[in-house]
Amino acid sequence: MRQPVPNAGHALRLSSTAGPEPAAIETAQALWDHDAVLPELAGLAEAIEADIVARHSATGRPVERGTLVGRRRWPAELAKLAGRLPASGRLIVDALSRDHLDAVVRARGHSSASAVRRARRLRGLVSPAELAAAAETADLAIVDVVPYGALLGGPEPELSHLAALERTHRWRRTLSWLPEDPGLTGLVLFLERAVVARLPTVVTHRMMIVVEKRRDPESNQAWLRREGSGDEPALSGELRAELDRLLEPAHARYLGFALLDAAQRLVPTLGATEVLGPARSDEYLTWRRAHDIDDAVTSFVRDWPRGRPARFRRGVDTTHAVDYHLVADLLEQHFRLFDEER
């Protein structure tokens, strides 16, 4: 009988690694609750929130802060918070987007029964129509509703519009540069302020609602109409130039493109050229198409021989030998990707 040999290699068990930190996947899932964000993003979340509050705090006028998150009957909570305001006083409250959660659950389909159940338990979900009605009841004028946190994900792994990405090591590796790279943080803050804040509430899980204590039903209705209009903001030339500069580093460009891709899935009317300008927009579309081509080529190489058992020799599929060069041939000769500079 042979002696057992000690296992001198490290089997990759998720519960232990050779390094000083716990496995990335475990950490991410352990931290999820409806308010938490990944540790790499904590500083960013605070920065975004502070930025929104600062933008909506006019000097000389006091601003109250509050939250509707977790409140079963949030319109009543809103009215209660408003009750503390002086006339024309301003209030900024945190809330969660009903439209966003509905869109995420719909996108996940029937496989997310548990996700649907968890989503239903969340409180403080606000839709634009509900907000307009609650504002009317409480004699409040809606100043602004600011979706934010495109990068911050949803309340739980299953309920995030970035769910597929957040499960991956490559996304966590990307985020790990945020504390290291001020340019990357600068890009995210810019996108939040210039793009995300101006999109409908469906675009992110979190929002801040800015109201003032005065009656203005026409203004509230006008806001509701704008919300539902589907008109998407275009960046001014100056802002596009700044975004272009922020997107110059390769990894900032990856993060920017990935966020834009995710936003477009939730807001299909959001066009790349409105945000990026023609040159960068071409680059973005080339990038997206490159992923589609890789997927298509990988599937084609796997599927084209199906239905021909005679391709097997000694029980092995002989087309394994074709894959490697076929991929290069397809990219070079059929897609002609390398004929000129990209």
Partner: protein, 456 residues
Amino acid sequence: MRPTAVISYLWDKHLGALDEFLAQFPVDTVIAPRAYCYERLEQIAAARGCAVVVLEELLPPGYARDREARKVLGALRAQIRGSDWSSSGVIGEGDVDTVRRIVRQRVGAEVPPAVELLDALNAAWTAHDIRLFVTTEDVIPLSKTAAAWARKRQVPSLHVAHSLALVDPYTVHAHLLTDVLAVYGPRGAEGYLDLGIDPARIVATGNPAWDDYASMRQDRDALRTQLLAKHGLEHDLPVVVFGTTWSAHLTALDTGDAHRRALAAFVAACADLDRRGVRFSAVVKDRPSNSDVGEEALASILAESGARARVVHTSEDGPQWAVAADVLVAVDSNYLVEAMLCGTPAVNLAGTAMLPMPPAFDGAAGVVEADPGTLAVRLRELIEDPDLRDRQLARFARRLEHYHVGGADGRAAHRVAAQMVRLAQTRPARRSLRQRLRQRLRHTRDVVVAKIGKER
């Protein structure tokens, strides 16, 4: 009793693991394809008392590849002729006849050698009791075929990664054919885990090809002196080494022009630093396969850039330069992990080889990220600021294990060998006739279900 055997598709650089394996698990024969019957393999086999058999020589005399491959080729050609690919998404755009031609050409070139290989492997199987299949990669045509055969035959199989997958495995890389994949560190598993491959199939062992760094990194001063003398470089100037890259054209995310673009970015950064009066020596460490083209490319780029400084071009001493350099620059490359192993400050040049993608290193690893536009500044910081260098090296020390298990302990070959022994011992024990019949029936049922359930 058939002689016991191991089938080796290991590259020369990984043979240290085979050596240690054979010390613990003797076999009668090592079978390897001719291309992998290295001198070192012969030496190891001789020392461990086993014969070396060239796989191709197991084919019967008079074996006629083209005749044997005829039926398979016929079936595949019929498939190509009869398929309608015009509506298969992106593939169906443009000229589908081009696709047909491409597939037909590749089938004609690659399938007959695969048929021949499978027949040779079958001959090996008949004549030997094969305990293990081990390979350095499972991507190029014949290695992939052999790995698939081993899995089909239930020969325990190990793929020792040929590199740390710093770029996530795309297209041709996006699979695991063998039972187990040995990666260098948890970082090397990330791309495969993201694909959904079962973590139980991945082990982290370190890279046997890097075991020599354990001793080489102690010899920094001597190596540095030798290399500087070899190339006539000044001893008191810091040396910045650039490792070149190349475009494999295996993903649509490839810019197609990585070698020239990255090299041009490095030369431009050197020229910028020269203009600012930063003094250093520049070395371009090219790949041996690039060497003739590489020297010309460098010369033409230098001429275009108007850079005054001399840039040494070499294709030798890769590991020695990793130890001796003051700063090492490379492109999403394992050379940067070697720099971590050696304690050499490192810069990853992004934005030349690939379209925008996730970073190769994590933020805490200590490998500096640069783009063509920022490379000069990043190099200057590392050349001129010893505290920054120390901080980066301290990060290396903390994160090295994530990239390379065992750090620089030089025992990766030992750990890979342990995996090989573990696998070689898992071959099912001899079964009784009743057990073998039962297995046969189960297999038949599975095949029937599979045929009904899905396309074969």
